[in-house]
Symmetry: C2
Subunit: 197 residues, 2 copies
């Protein structure tokens, strides 16, 4: 299982955000939508061995479980609609309980620390100042990658994450979702010299 | 310079398409929007050494030149709006002339064959049945990568493309935009053992 935790610093906690303005008044919700896409979707399929957690404003977590997702398309507006349903469902979430808002999508009142505490495998921070990707063992079991949205990690977040590995995928500063595609591919291709799709 | 030619089989040629329905009535325009993003945008920056051509219904080409783009955000709706402006500007395009619709964005009545004829470097088809990515020389000069949208290449397109290389980035079938992020990263990191961002 591969996990990706994406920190949303500015995304809306209010389900009333507009699907017509994901990049504006919804607080760069478009960034998080693209991360859900990159983390979970294949061409005409879903990565059933992957999960994505969005941690919004260090208050709320939305978990997308590839093995249970149904009818999720890659378009920002589609994923934004699913996030809106999750934000609506948070009213039913008591304590740190997970509440399902759509198949494979759950919401909980959890901060970054609580989400990472539940990770079973090693924490890998994806950070522009990290070590090159090939220094990450490609056979790593159950890695949980942590990324930030369009803003840098805060020092408080760096302290909470306390990663086992700190990795940069390359010499250029990339968007979080592009980085996720590269990481998936690194693990997908490990050990392959020919592909047998 | 790196080029990416993306074939849009179903995207709208009519500038009247709705930005609220990019994945539906606009003919999977969302796919093309994400390809423009993956081909040209960095975190808080633009790849000034890259160009993307969208070839829509083998009738119309829209060219995005990273060196000249201004104020382009990664959100699908933002890029969809720029495509709409390009489709509006096609009324002013005589013959195969390029007409600028926004800074760095031009439109022309050209089919796939004409677009590829103008390529200065080797043609690289990105295809699930291709050879592994490491078989592509990382120091390749001015490659022009050709990808298809959510539909497979037609046999007519395969014949027109006649690639110098046919490359698959991995064992799983990926969306075109995810593939583009992986290809950029392959070329970005070639020869690096440490990154100096």
């Amino acid at each position: 299982m591969r996990g990706f935790v994406v920190i949303g610093h500015t995304a809306s906690l209010d389900p009333g955000f507009s699907l017509d303005d994901l990049a504006g008044s919804a607080g760069r919700m478009d960034v998080l939508c693209r991360c859900v896409n990159a983390g979970l979707l294949l061409s005409h399929g879903v990565r059933t061995d992957a999960r994505v957690w969005l941690v919004i404003q260090d208050e709320l977590a939305i978990r997308f479980d590839g093995a249970a997702l149904r009818n999720v398309g890659p378009a920002e507006r589609v994923i934004g609609g699913l996030i809106r349903k999750a934000l609506e469902a948070k009213a039913n979430a008591i304590g740190a309980q997970w509440v399902e808002s759509s198949p494979g999508i759950c919401v909980s009142r959890r901060d970054l620390d609580t989400v990472l505490d539940a990770a079973s495998g090693p924490i890998v921070q994806l950070h522009e100042d990290g070590d090159p990707l090939p220094s990450l063992p490609a056979e790593i079991a159950d890695p949980v990658f942590v990324l930030s949205d369009h803003q840098d990690f805060t020092s408080a977040e760096d302290a909470v994450i306390a990663p086992e590995y700190r990795i940069s995928v390359g010499p250029r500063r990339l968007h979080a979702d592009h980085t996720m595609s590269i990481v998936h591919n690194y693990l997908d291709t490990a050990g392959y010299t020919q592909y047998d799709a």
